[in-house]
């Protein structure tokens, strides 16, 4: 597969940004080769801290660095990072520390390592914290812009990144805007809101559906929190059917947020695609097919929602 993993794009962006902004530091817990901060650490060793396999301490140190004026990127696998939810809740969120939390290896797409390494509930947990923004870019271009934005954002940010390579989905002239989604493909029969790794699959599904006479509007939700309410309501109002697509538990993630908003403001049938139950080891494509996150699975769900 061509394309680049969003974790790799993140690592490259951080090295570039680090040259311009002395305040940027990294804090890792023995996974810098996997979170891709290793290049930053090599270039700016005095600004990179590896605290060993101790994620709670890593998060707290990040909070302290932020309180002393640094801009820390605190990085681990999504599950290990957000698994220390109580530390994020108090030391980062309630303290309102300007920490950039970076969770890589999001979702079942990590494949063979299995459930214990898969971030599947991280968005649900962090969505419950009032002041934590959640960004989930879908390709290399968007990731680099999202990282640059995170530096500018005043307050806690969670950046959710993939292990696997991502095909380009955003136009070359794309500009990331916080809280704003992008219609990647206009349509009128159904709204498909996708985020992160499976966005490309949603586009593929839309192509397949078009051949079957179904016009799907595909939206890339790069900001998972806050939702782009305006765009969502406009699209759902037009199509009357919504399908959400994410590599995350179907409980509490993007789909949960979309369903919450629509049920209160514009009751619309919603089908949430994502992971049900625990993840498991396997090849990523097989896992996506099993959970209906591959192009064929997304197209099948859309047809079901439309009753065709």
């Amino acid at each position: 597969m061509a394309g680049k993993a969003s974790r790799a794009a993140f690592g490259e962006a951080l090295v570039e940004l680090g040259a311009r902004d002395e305040r940027i530091v990294t804090v890792d817990a023995d996974l810098s080769k996997s979170t891709m901060t290793a290049a930053f650490a090599k270039k700016y060793p005095e600004r990179a801290f590896n605290v060993g396999i101790a994620e709670s301490n890593m998060i707290g140190i990040g909070a302290g660095l932020a309180l002393a004026g640094r801009i820390p990127f605190v990085c681990s696998f999504a599950c290990f990072l957000v698994g220390r939810f109580e530390t994020i809740r108090i030391s980062v969120a309630y303290t309102n520390a300007n920490v950039k939390l970076v969770g890589t290896h999001a979702g079942i797409a990590i494949g063979e390592d299995g459930y214990s390494q898969m971030g599947l509930e991280d968005v649900a947990m962090l969505r419950a914290l009032p002041n934590v923004a959640i960004l989930q870019p879908a390709d290399e271009l968007e990731t680099k812009q999202a990282v640059a934005y995170a530096v500018e954002h005043d307050g806690p940010v969670y950046l959710r990144l993939t292990r696997q390579n991502l095909e380009p989905v955003c136009p070359l002239d794309y500009r990331f805007r916080f809280g704003r989604w992008l219609v990647l493909r206009p349509g009128h029969d159904v709204t498909v809101v996708a985020s992160g790794g499976p966005v490309w699959n949603a586009l593929q599904a839309a192509g397949e559906l078009e051949a079957q006479g179904i016009s799907a509007e595909v939206i890339n939700a790069a900001t998972v929190k806050p939702l782009d309410e305006e765009l969502l309501l406009r699209s759902a109002g037009k199509t009357g059917r919504v399908v959400t697509v994410e590599d995350h538990s179907i409980a509490g993630g993007l789909g949960g947020g979309v369903a919450e908003l629509l049920s209160e403001v514009l009751p619309t049938p919603v089908r949430r695609l994502g992971v049900t139950g625990f993840g498991e080891s396997g090849d990523p494509h097989g896992l996506y097919a099993k959970h209906g996150l591959d192009p064929a699975g997304i197209a099948r769900s859309v047809r079901e929602v439309l009753g065709r």
Binding site: S56, L65, A68, I90, T95
Partner: protein, 303 residues
Amino acid sequence: MADARLATIARECRVQIIRMLTHAGSGHPGGSLSVIDVLVSLFFARLRHDPARPAWADRDRVVLSKGHGVPALYAVMAKARYFDEARLPSLRKLGSPLQGHPDRTALPGIEAATGSLGQGLSIAIGEALGLRLAGSSARVYCVVGDGESQEGQVWEAAMSAPKLGQPAHPLDNLCVIVDYNKIQLDDFVARVLDLEPLVEKWKAFGWAVVEIDGHDFDQIAKALDQAEAIRGRPTVVVAHTVKGKGVSFMENDPAWHGKAPKPAEAVQAIREILGVAPSAWDAHLAADAPTRALVAELVGLGG
């Protein structure tokens, strides 16, 4: 001489702790009274700080990791004029910046949200590192509880502080003070999960360790002097304290970890803190108008 000044301030702060908790009807007197002498020593004889500029970048920081002791912190902050002492009775009341546990966003001068135990030392380490990176000479003090030291994150942090920043930025700008009052919520620490040998634990993790009586202002001052003089590594001061110190019926009783005194109990507590014999109390009140007004205020709460 410094001792007499600090002792006077600490006595006034103890009275305010009792006042606050009685108004609130809940809170943690035992651990507030055990840590107050350390906090008074920091705020009135140690910190480079400016209550008028709580966000001053080069201020010394105090992170109260044992956040339930925050009435003691509010008392010293009010005394240092971070805010008006008249606000102290709003502790734990709806809309008050004096939250039941520290809220950095609500009250300028609070360095971090704490109260979910075990988290403050990591934050203090991050601040110490950040200050070093910024070339600041400011120091960071972190007050950790003894029961709190059962939290794993405390030891993740303890393991990391002597190593992080080396060799260019050793964290000798960091000083931890353990408020070793020997009691936690359920029972005596030694009965719940003994910390001993505590000094040896910190030494083994690479810290300079000083052991003191945490109610002796001279010993506190000398320990903080030592901590400032030690180069190349952080210092921990293990301060032996008495839970509920200054109030006879609260001292060394786990029951007073987390309950507020009734007004009558509060009046007795204040009398003891001021060192007045029962037989001399009426005469004392007749001569001491502020205390007379305070007693009337608390008795007026009823119950």
